[in-house]
């Protein structure tokens, strides 16, 4: 997919792009951003580095994962295919995306991730500073009882257009959590189809926005088979003149009885210049289901701030603490402790 594809889609699906005027926002992208990408790290987990969308085997660390697992190139897209009982991937894999001074105007990446029956995969996408437009298309196929934990941090400062599609077979589990902090414009689409019985999806995310940042999370979960469950928790904190968008749709197909769908979107407006738009949708064609969604938009509680101040915190500390607490519910959904710490650290840094 390219920027042109996204623009085209935004024309065709006006309703789906109601709150994100893609063409206008692309025009206001900053010419340059601070580039202090230190991609060195001290861990020992497998780490694949992509510069300007191209896989860099020299800078990557394979650990227990042989390089042959990741195949392909920029032109055809990268395939990460894990067979049945993929027990060798016990450690999370990290994908690092960054750009340098040779970056083209737009970077197009296509990832295909396929996890065989009973396979296990944990992947963290780390989007470091990139002044250009990153277009990321991710196709995820989970076979029976496969489990895929998929994390994503966007702190690129640039424009990020992403579309992930996931097909989850019987008993499969797809978990996505995304942290957006530092972007000019992000459109993050996640489209999950629960195709087999007892498949599950858990989507979580946090958007921390300030300045003129614009972030749009659009999810769609289709319950196509009975006895599936989905759960979504999204938290947005907006400061400055930023704008946050959450559009979440749960579709329950005709025969998808015993569906359990839950969705929560909560937003904090810290400034009177910021704007939050939420559109949580339910589209239900089966009767024996339990589906609910909730959405709130509000401010920090003055009384809570007062309480913390009376305990000796200054205004800024009190607000930072409350913001962290507000986001904490989403953090608790992250099952990998190390990553929870990474996310928490990012959030704390943002709040201060």
């Amino acid at each position: 997919m390219s920027v042109a594809n996204f623009i085209n889609r935004s024309h065709q699906d006006k309703e789906g792009w109601k709150y994100t005027d893609l063409e206008a926002l692309l025009k206001t992208a900053p010419a340059s951003i601070a580039m202090n990408n230190n991609i060195a790290d001290t861990g020992d987990h497998p780490r694949f580095v992509f510069v300007n969308g191209v896989f860099q085997s020299k800078q990557s660390r394979f650990g227990a994962v042989p390089s042959c697992i990741l195949m392909g190139d920029l032109a055809t897209g990268y395939n990460l295919v894990l067979g049945e009982h993929t027990c060798l991937v016990t450690q999370p894999i990290e994908f690092v995306f960054t750009a340098d001074e040779n970056a083209p105007n737009e970077i197009n990446i296509k990832l295909t991730i396929e996890v065989g029956a009973n396979g296990r995969l944990t992947l963290l996408e780390n989007h470091l500073a990139s002044p250009t437009i990153t277009v990321l298309e991710t196709e995820i196929i989970l076979h029976a009882s496969a489990k895929f934990v998929h994390g994503k941090i966007i702190h690129s400062g640039g424009t990020h257009l992403a579309r992930s599609t996931a097909q989850v077979a019987r008993g499969g589990y797809y978990n996505n959590f995304t942290l957006i902090r530092g972007t000019h414009l992000t459109r993050n689409e996640i489209d999950v189809v629960l195709q087999g019985e007892e498949a599950q999806a858990a989507l979580n995310g946090t958007m921390l926005l300030r300045g003129t940042e614009h972030a749009d999370t659009t999810t769609r979960i289709t319950h196509a088979a009975p006895h599936c469950a989905s759960r979504q928790i999204y938290k947005t904190v907006l400061d400055g003149k930023s704008r946050g968008v959450f559009q979440g749709k749960i579709i329950v197909a005709k025969d998808a009885q015993k569906t359990d769908g839950y969705q929560l979107s909560r937003a904090l407006l810290l400034s009177d210049q910021a704007e939050m738009d939420a559109k949580p949708e339910l589209e239900i064609y089966a009767d024996d289901v339990k589906c609910s969604h909730g959405s709130t938009i509000g401010d920090l509680d003055e009384q809570a701030i007062f309480y913390l101040r009376s305990r000796g915190l200054n205004e800024a500390q009190a607000r930072a603490l409350l913001i962290e607490a507000f986001v904490a519910e989403m953090l608790e959904e992250i099952q990998i402790e190390a990553w929870r710490d990474i996310f928490r650290a990012e959030i704390e840094r943002w709040a201060q």
Partner: protein, 487 residues
């Protein structure tokens, strides 16, 4: 799903429509088709002033450039706007002066519908609740009761065509001020061809002593009904207004595109209740009314309040979003809705709450019940503008599904630009659980009664907002839907 709910869904789908009869009455009908001539014809019939004719023509010319909206979750074959007649009125030699002059056939129709057109005498010592009725039959108002008594309070309650003659300044000032001429396809069409409807003006500081009500009846074949209602509550005034509607059973779809405008000035309160029971079509989805209605209220004054309550049981298609524009500081908007759809009925309904003034508050409670092969959608907008400091909104949408062929959808839009505002939205979808049914049956209710009890309980929050007369009717309507469904 067990056998009892299956039977119930089937029975729901086959429920009888009680108001499907046709009144045999001579009527004067405009030739089929829509053109500027049609509009001039209607305007001439109503003996309208030039400004109103010009207003209609302007709307018509705009309408020609507009397209039917496609965003609602409803499906219907294309409507041929040239195939219907836009004016039909029962033949009367003169406008009846009193009820005695009204065609007895019409009076019988209303008696059959259970609408009291005779003003009840107040019995000594017994203070009956009275309701003033404006009866609209196809394109014209045939009778308005209690006019004299209302006039003694300074209240104007009359057909809008009469208000155009007697109080043109009020009509001209407020008509189209809440729903602009170019608002949407159906509203613009209504501006061009509206025929009758009610006009209410409550002067400063007056509490309307009785419920006002308009009863809409479509009778003639191959016509559409385009009524226009305008209610103005001046400073400190309050009024409760009810609206009811029915139509005969026919195989062809008939269009009903109404516009309702409410204006509440400082400290005024308007309560607007609807029990919509247009003919919904038969069990195969043949026939029924297309109900494409624009309803909007403006809380112009500080501390004003507009409350919409609707029970939507009829119509083949309902497309309706009663809204509140909360301009005045501390103004309040409310929306309570029950939408019951069965067979092939489709309902896309909800509300818009636009918060502009400080400390404005709104409450939305919407209950959708789908049975048969029906689709019911809640579509709503809560918008908090930057100026609406301290605004508050609470929305609750619940859907209930009966049967496995129906659908229930929720499409809320929530937009906030004011940090000192609080917006909460909650929606759930569920079915009547076997446990609930079992519990009730264990206590001696049969399956049908149990379902009736549960469904009525599900709607209770909304039904209790209705004025008493309507609450009784609405509860009956809900249970009629469940009639004969023994497990």
């Amino acid at each position: 799903m067990n056998a009892s709910t299956n039977t119930l869904a089937k029975d729901l789908a086959e429920q009888k429509y009680k108001y499907g009869f046709v009144t045999a009455i001579d009527s004067e009908t405009a030739p089929v088709g829509l053109s500027e001539d049609t509009i001039r014809f209607i305007s001439a019939k109503k003996n309208e002033p030039v400004w109103l004719l010009e207003w209609r023509l302007k709307a018509y010319r705009q309408w020609l450039k507009m397209r039917e909206p496609k965003w609602a979750k409803v499906h219907h074959p294309p409507i041929d706007y040239q195939a219907a007649s836009y004016y039909s009125a029962p033949k009367q030699s003169d406008k009846p002066k009193t009820l005695d002059d009204v065609d007895p056939e019409l009076l019988a129709t209303y008696a059959k519908l259970g609408i009291p057109l005779q003003e009840q005498e107040i019995l000594a010592g017994v203070q009956e609740r009275r309701v003033a009725v404006d009866a609209v039959f196809d394109s014209v108002s045939v009778a308005t009761t209690y006019k004299k008594e209302l006039e003694s309070h300074g209240i104007l309650f009359c057909p809008i065509s009469e208000a155009v003659q007697t109080h043109p300044e009020l009509v001209q000032k407020y008509l189209g001020s809440v729903v602009p001429v170019s608002d949407n396809f159906f509203a613009t069409l209504n501006c061009a061809v509206f025929t009758d409807g009610s006009f209410v003006y409550i002067p400063k500081g007056v509490r309307c002593p009785m419920e006002l009500s308009t009863y809409f009846r479509i009778n003639a074949e191959n016509t559409g009904q385009f009524e226009r209602t305008l209610i103005i509550a001046d400073e400190g005034a309050s009024v409760s207004y009810l609206e009811g509607c029915t139509a005969p059973k026919r195989d062809v779809n008939q269009l009903h595109a109404a516009v309702v405008e409410l204006v509440a000035l400082d400290d005024a309160t308007i309560k607007y209740s609807t029990v919509q029971n247009w003919y919904p079509g038969d069990k195969d989805g043949k026939g029924g009314i297309y109900n494409f209605v624009t309803k909007r209220g403006a809380c112009r004054g500080a501390r004003s309040k507009i409350s919409w309550t609707q029970v939507e049981t009829g119509s083949a298609i309902t497309w309706k979003y009663p809204s509140c524009i909360l301009q005045g500081d501390d103004s309040v908007g409310e929306f309570y809705s029950v939408a019951i759809t069965n067979n092939h009925q489709q309902a896309d309904t909800g509300t818009k709450m636009i918060h502009i003034g400080k400390n404005t508050r709104s409450t939305i409670i919407a209950k959708g019940i789908s049975a048969g092969q029906a689709d019911s959608t809640y579509r709503g907008l809560v918008k908090i503008l930057r100026t609406a400091k301290g605004a508050r909104n609470k929305t609750q949408c619940d859907s209930l599904l009966i049967g496995d062929k129906c659908g229930a959808h929720t499409v809320p839009y929530i937009e906030s630009r004011q940090p000192k505002a609080r917006v909460e939205h909650e929606a759930t979808t569920s079915k009547v659980s076997e446990d609930q049914l079992f519990y009730c049956q264990q206590r001696g209710l049969n399956a049908e009664e149990a379902m009736g009890l549960i469904v009525n309980g599900f709607c209770r929050e909304v039904l209790q907002e209705l004025p008493m007369e309507f609450a009784v009717e609405a509860q009956k309507l809900v249970s009629i839907s469940l009639e004969g469904s023994v497990g």
